[in-house]
Structures are given as structure tokens and as C-alpha cells.
Symmetry: C2
Subunit: 249 residues, 2 copies
């Protein structure tokens, strides 16, 4: 039997947000490869091998998965969220690109999932109702000046902005710098959402404004959404109207 | 029993991409409210009422759903994809905002889903591997100059660009105008993907370049992805490397 590799995402956390297509891949894989805490979410199956690794070794993990598939195993590479958004799918293709040429002939597939931004938006209402962008604030893989350029462009063109990886122990100050930059472009009244643990039983939404936003509200489990000029509150919800032509009709 | 309203998305098309959480909402609703073709995807249940409506009457549909919930019904508002991305969730909150003040006290919730952009990316590899944005090319709800401003900003700041609603019978020329604009900012070699019917059994990916992209390849079921400067091909896949710091390490 020839090997295969499917990159899947287990969604934001709760089992109800793992798609049936992904659950089926997980059920039939001979080998699961992923970051330990993501593998821990998946029920054990007899005979299925688990290859847990630490955070920050994505390319090494991708190479292991490709080697296993090349050896005839049915491999699932397990991300959180959607595997194509700041997750393992890109790492797998990077490893193919730089690796054994025979890996290009492997049966490789990506299964989409629910990314954190969508779960966070759903917890708060519909803040992504208009055009939006997703920016990772981590400068491990790009320069801070690239991030600043994208934040400025997104603010000037009035996108709703979803910030992935807003803070970590190694990077406590960048979200504050991002808010400072955005305050130079956008009104202080712009709604800002801190959504922690979206799509889990512990989900928590803090609604504030760009002027008042306290970067220490964010941790590694937080997704930050900065509204567009039209983003507004109604009752306990935040939403961005579909129409930018004045009053909705 | 007091009423409730849950806005759900049935994903890009195939049943394997409807989350269990959404399936549960659909199973327990007394009333399904949505665009006819989306309701047609859902198995019938005895006693469950269906309120199908045409395209383009989102606010009217939202008001009907809110009225039913206010009358004590358990209502599911059914979108395709994710309900928060160019879909019904924003319309529901617009209707709450402009409607009966008592609607603000209703039990309203949004369930996230798999939006078309994620399914399209998965079909092609990992083109959304870096920072990205989503722009609807429809000018029904915003001016074309707003769209041009966002396309220019996204291109200049080197986002991967996902184009929703790239073409319809009423708007056959806008995708060509968007490509022309992007050609003035981005290299002609930039990868462009036309992904039709992503996340269904009929999925089809066309890979081309910005210089050669033919707007007539897109229809209402197509999602277009325009790469960043780093987006590249390996084997039959397109991906955007996570690292923008030269060679991935």
C-alpha cells in the first residue's frame, strides 16, 4: 500500500469544531505527527503511532511526516485551527521544496478547518462582516518593519484586522507597538476585541476601543480583532455591516 | 420555551465540511431560514419548518428569522461557508440594530464554519501560508473606488489576496479591472489561482500567473487567490512559505 500525507486542523479547540472529513483522516491514519498539545486532543486508537514534537520545530516535523509517507505509512499531520493559516501546511510544502525530489510524487493533501479568527469572530458577533486581513504579529519569520508596513496599509485601506500570535513570553511588547501604530491612523473609538480561547468552553470576549486597548489583555491563546471604520456595537455584539454605502437598505 | 437564533454556515459544499456543532444546531432547530440552494443541502426532518428565500434579500431574511425567534421558535439561519464571512451573520446584526429594540435581548449566537477561502487554499496547497486578506469584489455594498483602494494597499504591502465574489452575470468586467490594477503593482509572474467549487466533489484548480490570468475563468462558484511575492510552486502545489527572511531554516 503506498503512503499518503494529509495535513489537517483540529479547529480552535472543542470537538464540535473538528470537521467530519478531518475526523475521518484521523481515524484512518497509521501515524499522527504534530505538536504534543494538539495530539493530546485526539482519542487514542490501538495500533496508531503518535509522533509528538515541541513547538518551533515545524520543518523537522514536516520532514519526519514526509519520510513516513515515503515509507508507505498513512500519515496525518495535525495542526490546530485550519492547517493552511499560520500552521503546518506551508511547512510541509517548504520541506517538499527543499527535500528529496521523490517527495514531490507523494500523495499529499490538505483538509481545511475552522481557523481561530472565525471562531473568535463568532464569539463576538460578526466583526469580520466586511473586507478583512489576517496578520501574524510574530517576527520570528519576518521583520518587524514588514509587519508595520502591513498594519499601516490595512489601517489606511480600512480593513478589519485580525491579529494572530499577538503576544508571547518572548514577545511581550509588540502588540503595544502595533496599537500605537494603529492609533496614528485609525480613530481612538475603533472597536478592539480580545477573544481568548475562542471555540472552547472557556471562551472569553473583552470589548474595548483602540484608544483604551491594553496589550497586556492578550496572551498566546488570544486573537485580537481591530475593527474597520464601520464596525459597531449593538446590544452585546460587535459587527461590521456588509454595506459601506451609508445606511443599510 | 423562549426562542433562539443561531447563525450557521454549511461550509463550502460537501457534508464532511459541516462541523458537528453546526449539524447539531440544524438537527434541533424548529425553523430553518436561508437562501434556497443552501437549505436544499440539509436533510429534511419531520416537523421542522423551512423558510427559503432568494438571493439578495438578506435583511428581509434576517428580520423574518428574528421575528420567529421573538415568537419563541428555535431558529437556524443558514449560510454557506462561514456565516461571518460575506454571509448572513452581519445581516442579522444589522437587522437587530435597525429593528425592534426587544430583539437585542434575544438569545443570538453564531457558529463558525469553513469559509470558501480555506477550502480553496487547501485544494491548491498552502497559498495562504503568510499574511493574507479577503476582499469581496462585489460593488453592490461598497463603491468600486473602495475596492481599488484595498487592492492597491494589499498589493503594495505584499499580502496574499483572496477574492470573494470575483464575477457574476451582473458584474462580468470587475475581475479584469482588478487584475489590471494588480499588474501595475505586482510582478507578472505572481501566481494566481482560480479555484472552482472548492470543498466539493467537483473541485477544480487552475494555476496561472498574474500576467496571463484570464478573468473569464471565474464564475460565481470561483474563489481567486493572488499570491504574495514569496508564493511559489512545488510539484503540483502552490504555497506561501512561512518565512520571509530569505531561505527557510
Amino acid at each position: 500500500m503506498s503512503g499518503s500525507l494529509v495535513v489537517v486542523g483540529t479547529g480552535p479547540g472543542k470537538a464540535g469544531l473538528i470537521t467530519p472529513a478531518t475526523a475521518e483522516v484521523l481515524a484512518h491514519a497509521t501515524d499522527l505527527v504534530g505538536y504534543g498539545p494538539y495530539l493530546d486532543r485526539i482519542p487514542c486508537r490501538i495500533g496508531q503511532r503518535r509522533h509528538a514534537s515541541d513547538n518551533g520545530v515545524e520543518l523537522e516535523r514536516a520532514r519526519l511526516a514526509l519520510s513516513l509517507a515515503a515509507a508507505g505509512r498513512q500519515v496525518a499531520v495535525v495542526s490546530g485551527g485550519d492547517p493552511g493559516v499560520f500552521a503546518m501546511a506551508a511547512a510541509v510544502f517548504e520541506a517538499v521544496d527543499a527535500g528529496d525530489p521523490s517527495w514531490r510524487d507523494l500523495d499529499i493533501r490538505v483538509e481545511p478547518g475552522v481557523t481561530a479568527m472565525l471562531a473568535a469572530a463568532a464569539e463576538a458577533g460578526a466583526p469580520l462582516g466586511g473586507d478583512f486581513c489576517a496578520i501574524s504579529l510574530s517576527d520570528n519569520l519576518k521583520t518587524w518593519s514588514t509587519i508595520e508596513r502591513r498594519l499601516t496599509a490595512a489601517a489606511e485601506a480600512d480593513f478589519v484586522i485580525a491579529l494572530y500570535n499577538p503576544a508571547s513570553k518572548a514577545r511581550p511588547h509588540q502588540l503595544g507597538q502595533a496599537f500605537d501604530l494603529l492609533r496614528g491612523v485609525k480613530p481612538k473609538e475603533t472597536p478592539v476585541l480580545f477573544v481568548r480561547a475562542a471555540g472552547t468552553a472557556e471562551a472569553c470576549v473583552v470589548v474595548t476601543s483602540l484608544g483604551a486597548a491594553d496589550p497586556s489583555c492578550a496572551d498566546m491563546r488570544t486573537l485580537v480583532i481591530v475593527g474597520a471604520s464601520t464596525t459597531r456595537q449593538v446590544g452585546r455584539w460587535i459587527y461590521t455591516p456588509r454595506s459601506e454605502r451609508g445606511a443599510a437598505s
